[in-house]
Amino acid sequence: MLDRMRRPRPDEGMTIRVLTVVQDIDTDLRHGLGGRGAPSAARRLRRLLAAQAVVLAGLDGTVAVAGPDPDPDELAALLAQTYENGTPAHRPPWSAVPLIVAGELSGALAVREGAEAELAAVGTLVSRSLDHAALRRARGRIAQAELRTLRAQISPHFLHNALSVIGARIRTDPARARTLLNDFADYLRYSFSAQGDYATVADELQAIQTYLELQRARFDDRMELSVRMAPEILPVAIPFLVIQPIVENAVRHGLEPKPGPGSISVSGFGEGPLCVIEIEDDGVGMEPEFAQAILAGSGGRAVVSPDTGRASVGLANVDQRLRTVYGPEYGLVIETARGGGTKVVIRVPRFMRGVVAN
C-alpha cells in the first residue's frame, strides 16, 4: 500500500502536453494527408518523437518533411520496403510505419533517429486521425448527395396532381391554367437548378409561392395562405431548399389529411444577427414524440408517419443540413400537438463564413 502511494506519478504537466500535441496533430490532419496542415503535423510529430527528421508520405510521394531533407534514394527504398510488406521497416538510421486508413494502405510515416516503440504507437494515432478526416469528408459528401436526392425527389404524387389540376382547368378557366402552368415551370426550374448550395430567402420564397399556388388550385382554394416577411431578411443566404420541404411537409402531413379548410402561414423577420423563419399550419398536427423521432432520426433515415404511412425524409434532411452548415445549435424547432397544427421554426445567423447565395 505504502509502496503504491510512493510510486512516482507520471508528471501531470507532461501528460497534458502530450495530449495537447496529439490533439493538435489531429486538427492538422483534418483535411487528410494532402491537406494544408500536413507540414505542421510533421513538425509536431518531430517534436513529439524527439526525432532528427520526420517524413509524412502518401502513396504518390512525400507530402511533408520536418527537419533536414532526407536522401531521396534512401527514403524511396525505405518507403518501397514499407509499402511492399505493409509492416514497419528499418534501414538505420531510418525507420518507417505504414499508415493504414480504413483497412487500406494509404501512406507511411518515416523518422530518422527516433524511438521505435513510440513510432508504432504514433503511427496508429496518425492513421486514426486520417481515418477521421476521411469520415468527415464522407459525411459532407453524404449531405451533398442527400441534397441532390431531395432536389430530384419531387414526388410523382405532386407531379401527377399538379398536371391533372392544370388539365382540369384548361377548358373551364384557361387563364388560370396558363398561370398555373407557368408556376409549374418555374417550380421545376428552381428545384432542378444545379448551381450552388445556397439561395437567398427571396428565391426560396418564390419557389414556395409557385408550389403553394399549385396546391391551392388542387384544394379548390380552400387553403388560406399568408406570407409575412420583413424585407430585411429577403437577401439573406440560406441553404438551398430548406423552407420548401417544410412547407411541403405541412401541406402533405398537416393539411391534406384534414377535412375542411386549412391555412398555412410563412413568416420571417430579423432578430438582431439572426434570421428567423416560421412555417405554421393549422392541420392535424402530430404526436410530439413523432416529431422528436423525425429529428432524432436525422441522417436521412426515413421515418414513417403512423397516420399517413408516408416518409418524411424532408424534415430530417433539412435539420441535418442546417446543423452541418451552422453548427448543432441551429437545428429545426418543431412545435406540435395532435390536432393542434404544427409550427416549424428555422433560426440561422444572417451571415456565416462560406454561406453565399449564387
Binding site: A202, L205, Q206, Q209, E213, E224, L225, S226, V227, R228, M229, A230, P231, E232, L234, P235, V236, A237, S267, F269, G270, E271, G272, P273, L274, E329, R347, P349, R350, F351, R353, V355, V356, A357
Partner: protein, 487 residues
C-alpha cells in the same frame, strides 16, 4: 405637458409600426413577392437616414454652433460627406460579401476568430460612446419639457428604449426608421420655417450678418485652441471616415437586394441628409440672436428646444416646443434602438454563443451601462461625444473595411495591430481630453478630436504589419468576390 403628450404619441406610433408594419406590408395576395422582392432604395435610404440623424444632429449641432460658431457646420458636412465615401468605397463590396456586421466582414475577409472578437469589442466601445450623448439628449429634453431632474430623464429613456426593443422593435426596423426620418425632418423643419417667419425682419438681418471674425469664422475651433484649421481638418476626417466604419450603418446595406442597389441607397442617404442639415443651422443662427445667454449659463444643447418658446410666446410657442421635443425624442429613440441592437448583436453573437433570451439580456445590459455612463456626462457636449464615436470608428473600422476591400495584401496580424492601435489611440485621447487640460495649442486639438493623427496611424500600422507577413492564399479570391459584378 403638451410636449410630453407629443412624445407619448410619437412613441405609440412607432410601436404600432414596429409591431404591425411587417403585417401590413405583406398580405395574402398571390403576388406578394412581386411587391416584396425589394425594399425600394428610397425606403432603405430613409431608414438609414432615420437611424443616422441622431440627437447629435437635432440638438447637438445647433448647440455646438451656438457655442463655437458657424464653423460647427463642418460636422454636418462631414456627417453627410461620409456617405460619398460609403457609396464609393464600401457599400457595394460590403453587400457582395454578405456580411451583416463588421465582425462578420472581418471573419469573411481574414478568417480569424480572434479578430472577430476584437472587432466585437470595438463595436461595443463605439456604440457606448455614441449612446451616451443620445441618452444625455433624452435627459436634457425631458428635463426641459417636464422639469424632472436630469437623471430621471436618462433612466426613463433607457427604460423606454429597452422596452420598445423587447416588445418587437427587433423585428422589422426598416419602416420604423423610415417613419422616424420623416418625423424628424418635419418636426424640425416646420417649426424652423415658422420661427424664421415670426422672428421679424430685424432678427433675420441680425442672424444673417456675417463678419469673418470669431463666431462667424468659417473654420471650427475646438476648446479655443487657436488652431482652427487643424481642428476643422480633424473633425472632417473623423466624421467623413467615421461614417464609413459605423457598425449600425454598415448593417443596413445588407438589406439591399444587390450591390448596385446598396450604392443607390448610399446616394439617396446623401440627398436626405443634405436636406435635413439645412435646419439645425437655422436654429443655430436664430439661437445666436434670441438665446445668447445659453452660452454662458445654460446647456447649449438645449437651444433647439428652448428657441420656439423664446420667439413665439403663448400657446403656439408651447405647441412648437412640443413638436421640436418630439422630433428630438424621435432622434433619440431611433438612433439608440439601432445602436443598442448592434451592440446587443455583438455582445450576444460575436462574444458568446447566440440565443434569443441572451439577445434580450444583452439589450438590457447594454442600455444599463449606457445609462450609467450618461449620468455623469451632463456637461459633455452632445456633438463632441458623438465626434469621439466617429473618431474611433474612423481609426478602426474605416481602415479595416477600406484596406480589406481594396488591398489583397491585408493580413490578419496587420488588421489586428491596426485595430488595436486605432482603438487605443482614439479612446485614449478622448479620455485624456476629458481628464486633462493642456491649454491652448495644437495638442488640445489632437486630444479633443484625435482623428487627424489616429486615422493615419491606424492605416500605417495596418499596412506596415501586413507587409511584414504574407496574406493567406485565399485572400485573393475573397477580395475578388467583393468586386465581381455578377455577385
Amino acid at each position: 405637458m403638451t410636449a410630453l403628450l407629443a412624445i407619448g404619441l410619437l412613441f405609440a406610433a412607432s410601436m404600432a409600426i414596429g409591431v404591425y408594419g411587417v403585417r401590413a406590408t405583406r398580405s395574402t395576395t398571390p403576388d406578394f413577392l412581386v411587391a416584396s422582392r425589394r425594399v425600394s432604395p428610397g425606403w432603405n435610404a430613409m431608414a438609414i437616414a432615420g437611424e443616422y440623424v441622431s440627437a447629435a444632429s437635432v440638438l447637438g449641432l445647433a448647440g455646438l454652433m451656438l457655442k463655437n460658431g458657424i464653423g460647427t457646420l463642418w460636422y454636418a458636412v462631414g456627417f453627410t460627406a461620409g456617405y460619398v465615401a460609403v457609396a464609393a468605397l464600401v457599400a457595394g463590396p460590403m453587400r457582395r460579401s454578405g456580411a451583416y456586421t463588421v465582425p462578420d466582414f472581418a471573419d469573411y475577409r481574414l478568417g480569424s476568430e480572434r479578430i472577430r472578437k476584437l472587432c466585437a469589442v470595438i463595436v461595443l466601445v463605439i456604440m457606448w460612446l455614441y449612446l451616451v450623448p443620445q441618452f444625455k439628449g433624452a435627459g436634457v429634453v425631458l428635463h426641459l419639457v417636464s422639469g424632472t431632474p436630469y437623471w430621471v430623464g436618462v433612466v426613463l429613456a433607457g427604460a423606454v428604449v429597452t422596452a420598445s426593443i423587447a416588445a418587437g422593435g427587433m423585428r422589422s426596423a426598416t419602416y420604423v426608421q423610415g417613419f422616424h426620418y420623416v418625423v424628424k425632418l418635419l418636426f424640425i423643419a416646420v417649426p424652423a420655417v415658422f420661427l424664421v417667419a415670426h422672428a421679424g425682419d430685424g432678427a433675420r438681418t441680425e442672424a444673417l450678418r456675417m463678419d469673418v471674425s470669431d463666431w462667424s469664422r468659417p473654420l471650427l475651433d475646438l476648446e479655443s485652441s487657436g488652431q482652427p484649421l487643424l481642428a476643422t481638418w480633424s473633425v472632417l476626417l473623423a466624421t467623413t471616415l467615421g461614417a464609413v466604419g459605423l457598425p449600425h450603418v454598415i448593417m443596413r446595406f445588407h438589406t439591399s437586394a444587390s450591390a448596385w442597389m446598396a450604392r443607390r441607397v448610399a446616394v439617396g442617404v446623401i440627398v436626405l441628409l443634405g436636406v435635413f442639415y439645412l435646419f439645425p443651422a437655422v436654429y443655430g443662427l436664430l439661437g445666436r440672436v434670441f438665446t445668447p445667454e445659453l452660452v454662458d449659463g445654460g446647456d447649449t444643447d438645449t437651444v433647439t428646444v428652448v428657441l420656439p418658446g423664446e420667439i413665439v410666446p403663448g400657446t403656439w410657442g408651447s405647441v412648437l416646443t412640443a413638436v421640436v421635443a418630439a422630433g428630438a425624442f424621435a432622434a433619440f429613440l431611433s438612433t439608440s434602438s439601432g445602436l443598442l441592437m448592434a451592440l446587443a448583436g455583438g455582445l450576444s453573437h460575436d462574444l458568446t454563443r447566440p440565443s434569443v433570451p441572451r439577445l434580450r439580456l444583452a439589450v438590457a445590459a447594454g442600455a444599463l451601462v449606457a445609462v450609467l455612463l450618461s449620468l455623469p456626462a451632463q456637461r459633455v457636449d452632445i456633438n463632441v461625444a458623438v465626434g469621439w464615436a466617429f473618431a474611433v470608428a474612423a481609426s478602426t473600422f474605416c481602415p479595416l473595411l477600406v484596406l480589406g476591400i481594396w488591398w489583397r495584401g491585408l493580413t490578419p496580424a496587420g488588421a489586428a495591430a491596426g485595430l488595436a492601435a486605432g482603438v487605443c489611440a482614439a479612446t485614449g485621447s478622448a479620455l485624456a481630453s476629458v481628464l486633462t487640460d493642456p491649454g491652448p495649442g495644437w495638442l488640445v486639438v489632437l486630444l479633443a478630436q484625435p482623428a487627424a493623427w489616429t486615422v493615419p496611424l491606424a492605416f500605417a500600422v495596418m499596412i506596415g504589419v501586413s507587409l511584414l507577413g504574407r496574406p493567406p492564399e485565399w485572400a485573393e479570391r475573397a477580395v475578388l468576390r467583393l468586386h465581381s459584378p455578377n455577385a
